[in-house]
Amino acid sequence: MACPYSWDVPGGVQQHIRDLAEALIDEGHEVSVISPADDDTPLPPYVVGAGRAVPVPYNGSVARLSFGFLSVSRVRRWLNQGGFDVLHVHEPGVPSLSLLACWVASGPIVATVHTAIPRSRVLLMTYPVLRTALEKINGRIAVSEAARTTLVEHIGGDAVVIPNGVATHRYLKAEPLPGWPGPGGAIGFLGRLDEPRKGLAVLLRAFEILGPDRPGLRLLVAGRAVDPEEVLYRVPAGLRDRVVLLGQVSEEDKIRVLHSVDVFCSPNTGGESFGIVTAEAMAAGLPVVASDIDAFRQVLRGGEAGELFAAGDASDLARAAGRLLDDKARRAELSTAALAAVARYDWSVVARDVLRVYETVMLGRTGVAVQDTGGFP
């Protein structure tokens, strides 16, 4: 697998590659990942560092990428030594190792596109240069419908959509934050506070209904906001000190937040294609109350693995959450059901879908070889 971004910088693509590689290794496959990385970064045994990534302006910000003829020769050496059956490149449209790997390799090549970017003139401008590399891709994977549209427009051909998996084992256990959930119970929320479709406003209105009758009940909210104060001012003054805002939290703290509450709430009013946060809460064994949009209906198996309420309806949410808070047995039942339901979205399952794509492109081929690229070292 080829990773375009520096391994030492946290990011969605790197996390995806790590989880997929580990899931494939668990299945007994041999995986080698080439990635830009600083020389002193400790790397997992399956990652080969391609040297320090160079910070360069890319898409209006600074990205740490690997490019140039030295990177080309490192990729070539990695391919030569690896003797791989299939090459899987991630984000081949980014000027880094994935694109270079496509360029120097021949044989079964699978590409995954993660981000949806509008068709740009940059790609048109460099199309003759990129074509030789991108035309060699035999299997295309997109992590979402939006990414699929991008891929079809940019590279052509069709793509299968295989969403990100959930590394469920990571979520299973964690130390709750000190003092949580507390005797009065706690409800949790994760996501951008000021993005209306994430639905925090609905949850806050429901808390206005629940709060006065349940003196110990607290709300734990983690996520970014341009103006967190403004969020608090929407809560009546008497309840304000029972709403705790954590701001943006790290990956580890996110898992601790999930273990710090009794009930998790996904009040989204729309715009979710899968609901990864909801799935992560389920992987932590949390009883979930979620709005009845299609994405959550699917993840929660139509209400078997979590309570659904009418999207946008605060009183319905208050009713559903209140019932859960009062009924410990029901919470335990939903926790078990959630763990069972989320297993379907575990990386081990997702990795099997990816393997099926590998098998398709490998049909009748011998493996990945290195190609001459016109005088490059």
């Binding site: 160079v54 302006p57 140039g68 940059v122 401008m125 460099t126 490059f376």
Partner: protein, 199 residues
């Protein structure tokens, strides 16, 4: 009495001539600064054109090509402020040129030496044109800010020229202006810029 009148008339005449001379100078400075700005725009445009030629030449690996093309596109899109976009192009060029043995890796390829020399030349012209423009802008601003010029509003409706600040150094050893460059500069390029930088 007559002597006094003569003195006053002569004094008024002198002041009038002096003021109109100052006004003329400020006007000439504004015109020169406008010309210098046009010249700077032309050199930036030329640099972006040859950078694009390099990006699409097929001489470079596709990743470097894509990176350069993205930076070139940024200077035209108008989505980012001009100075930031042009600095990005400088940094992209610097990232490409400052790879160890960059030149050696391309020597022998048809047209490579000419194209690289052209990019270097274009980058150097940007450096010179920008220095020239900023020097003139400084003189003009200073002339406008003199008490007499301000009192009599000698600059008329002409706007004060803004300085054009950007990262235009293709040598990587200037951390003050080039925070992203961490690799040692390519010797050939650094030398060119050093030599011509002291013109």
């Amino acid at each position: 009495m007559i002597a006094d009148v003569i003195l006053i008339v002569a004094g008024a005449l002198f002041v009038g001539v002096y003021v109109s001379w100052r006004a003329g100078r400020i006007d000439r400075l504004h015109r020169r600064v406008d010309m210098a700005r046009i010249a700077l725009d032309l050199t930036l445009l030329r640099r972006s054109t040859v950078a694009q030629e390099l990006a699409t030449s097929g001489l470079l690996d596709p990743a470097t090509s894509l990176l350069l093309a993205g930076a070139v596109h940024g200077t035209r899109g108008g989505q980012r402020p001009r100075d930031l976009a042009e600095s990005d192009l400088t940094r992209a060029l610097r990232a490409a040129f400052s790879q160890p043995d960059f030149r050696a890796s391309l020597s022998g390829k048809e047209g490579a030496d000419e194209l690289l020399a052209e990019v270097e030349e274009a980058a150097h012209q940007v450096y010179v044109a920008r220095k020239f423009y900023n020097d003139l802008a400084a003189v003009t601003r200073e002339a406008r800010n003199r008490p007499l010029a301000r009192l009599l509003h000698l600059s008329g409706h002409a706007k004060a020229p803004e300085f054009f600040e950007m990262d235009d150094s293709l040598i990587a050893d200037q951390p003050a202006t080039a925070p992203v460059a961490e690799q040692p500069g390519g010797p050939a390029f650094g030398h060119t810029m050093e030599r011509s930088g002291h013109d």
